[in-house]
């Protein structure tokens, strides 16, 4: 089986484990002063970040601290605050879990999560994650390509899109109880078939080397690194191959704010945020946030731009 090579930072760019865990302490003691001058902990270590940016990679391409990845989440099923998913997901049971694969496929099937893992395994993928709210992380996922599952299911001729459905469990997910103004449940998402088949598109079952915590979308979620984070539907229960563009949750909520494609694009602003730059979570200080320019397709243009050739990205945002 061919291993897909995707752009990732050189190992020299990744913060060593020891240094990584001392970052918090460093941040505490240095508060302001040193950090405000733009110096990042670990930078003194080597000129690796400089070399990295010379290869066209943003200077600070180090994984976001695990604590930040697991405690700064948008997962409205558990609540609207970033801290809610970690705090309020204790009652969620990600196992046992089944994923139904159906629609325009040769072999519709209900997969047990363990069967999926046994069949497709998992590999490490270090991806940038860009939220539509203009912040970003770098996350070490474990998972398998969605394309592998779709190929196994046998996509029928005439299929054009893939629809995803998340879980509805109001008893375990406080954000799904009541809530006058909340999203409609279940959360639904969709991709064009070629996007779904793209080797960058991942079904993640782990993060930081461990099974996904509830707040990150346990036990299985979508990761599409060149799109805004809300496309990455969490706790997937159903994957349906279809010939019609499926509805997507945020698009239903506010169609003028969230398009079907939701490709990261610094030139197409959100009505509430400029998308030209992003705050790097886990870096910076209380007195100066860390920011960097946002890149078209979140820096994955080389891999995915061809999917959108001839399209007006302002219209199909």
């Amino acid at each position: 089986m061919a291993v897909y090579r995707y752009p990732r930072p050189a190992s020299s760019d990744i913060t060593p484990r020891r240094l990584f865990f001392s970052r918090r302490a460093l941040l505490g003691t240095a508060a302001g002063g040193v950090l405000a001058s733009g110096l990042k902990p670990g930078m003194a270590q080597a000129d690796a970040p400089v070399a990295a940016s010379a290869r066209g990679w943003p200077a600070a391409e180090t994984p976001t601290p695990r604590d930040d990845v697991t405690h700064y989440n948008n997962f409205y099923e558990f609540g609207m605050e970033k801290s809610d998913p970690a705090e309020l997901s204790g009652g969620f049971h990600p196992r046992p879990w089944q994923v139904q694969v159906d629609g325009l496929v040769e072999h519709p099937q209900v997969w047990d999560l363990d069967a999926l893992s046994a069949r497709f395994g998992h590999e490490d993928r270090l991806y940038r994650m860009r939220c539509v709210e203009a912040w970003s992380m770098v996350i070490p996922w474990q998972g398998f390509e969605l394309g592998a599952l779709l190929r196994a299911a046998g996509v029928k001729a005439g299929a054009k899109y893939v629809a995803f459905t998340s879980v509805v469990r109001p008893s375990e997910m406080p954000g799904q109880r009541g809530g006058l103004f909340s999203l409609r449940w279940p959360y639904v998402e969709g991709l064009r078939l070629d996007e779904a088949m793209h080797p960058l598109t991942l079904l993640a079952t782990g993060v930081y080397g461990e099974a996904l915590p509830a707040q990150n979308g346990a036990p299985i979620r979508l990761v599409v690194p060149w799109k805004y984070g809300f496309k990455g539907i969490k706790s997937i229960t159903r994957i349906t191959v279809t010939d019609k563009q499926p509805p997507t949750s945020w698009n239903q909520m506010a169609p003028e704010e969230y398009g079907f494609y939701a490709n990261v694009n610094p030139d197409v602003d959100h009505p509430r945020w400029s998308q030209s730059s992003e705050q790097i979570i886990g870096e910076g200080s209380l007195f100066r946030t860390a920011r960097r320019p946002t890149r078209l397709f979140n820096g994955y243009a080389e891999q995915v731009a061809s999917l959108y050739r001839g399209m007006d990205l302002r219209k199909d945002f």
Binding site: H71, K82, M253, P271, R272, S274, Q279, L286, T289
Partner: protein, 206 residues
């Protein structure tokens, strides 16, 4: 100026100014606490946004409290008039911190980005207008300004009602979805503002 219920009130050991200063400093505790926690890195993954939003909410709260002072005196006979100025200044101080965190810490004083923000994003436009009003009210809150402006001072400071409405809109539309809290704040604001519409007995409208 004798408050209607002054007879029942105990005389304080401290001068009004001392009490005003004490209230002001005491109410800065949330700001000090946020900044201390932020520096100790115990505010979570995005301390800047926690501070930014906390300061905004505190500004709103003090605006509400300062607007409750005169209805409390009129309808409940409770006189906190001496604290109205520090409460108003607290609203302004927290609003100023909120703005400084947005403009400086989050946006790095990037005037190009800020101008685009303020002109193209409705919730920020509402926020800027609110702050400009509070700024004008704060600089004209000195005794000297009150004397210099005379009757116009009362008129000018009615702008606080406009600020209250603008702030309510700013807060309500700042989120991706409708949140409950802004509507609770707006409801309190609506009550406080509508109390001003109750006609005063024995006083004809001019």
């Amino acid at each position: 100026m004798a408050p209607p219920s002054s007879g029942r009130r105990r005389r304080s050991r401290f001068s009004p100014l001392t009490r005003q200063v004490f209230l002001y400093l005491f109410c800065l505790i949330p700001a000090v606490s946020d900044i201390a926690q932020g520096m100790a890195n115990t505010l979570g993954p995005n301390p800047v946004s926690v501070c930014l939003h906390d300061f905004g909410r505190w500004a709103f709260r003090f605006l509400l409290i300062s607007l409750a002072v005169s209805p409390l005196r009129r309808f409940a006979g409770l006189d906190f008039m001496v604290y109205r100025r520090p409460l108003g200044l607290l609203a302004f101080s927290y609003a100023a911190l909120h703005v400084v965190f947005y403009v400086g810490v989050a946006r790095h004083f990037d005037t190009h980005v800020l101008w685009k923000d303020f002109t193209s994003r409705p919730f920020l436009t509402f926020g800027v207008l609110t702050f400009l009003i509070l700024l004008v009210l704060a600089v004209t809150s000195t005794r000297r300004a009150i004397i210099a402006l005379g009757r116009r001072w009362t008129k000018l400071h009615k702008l606080v009602y406009v600020a209250m409405i603008l702030a309510s809109v700013h807060y309500a539309i700042a989120f991706k979805t409708w949140h409950t809290e802004p509507f609770i704040y707006a409801a309190i604001a609506a009550v406080l503002l509508s109390l001003r519409l109750v006609p005063k007995p024995g006083k004809r409208t001019v």
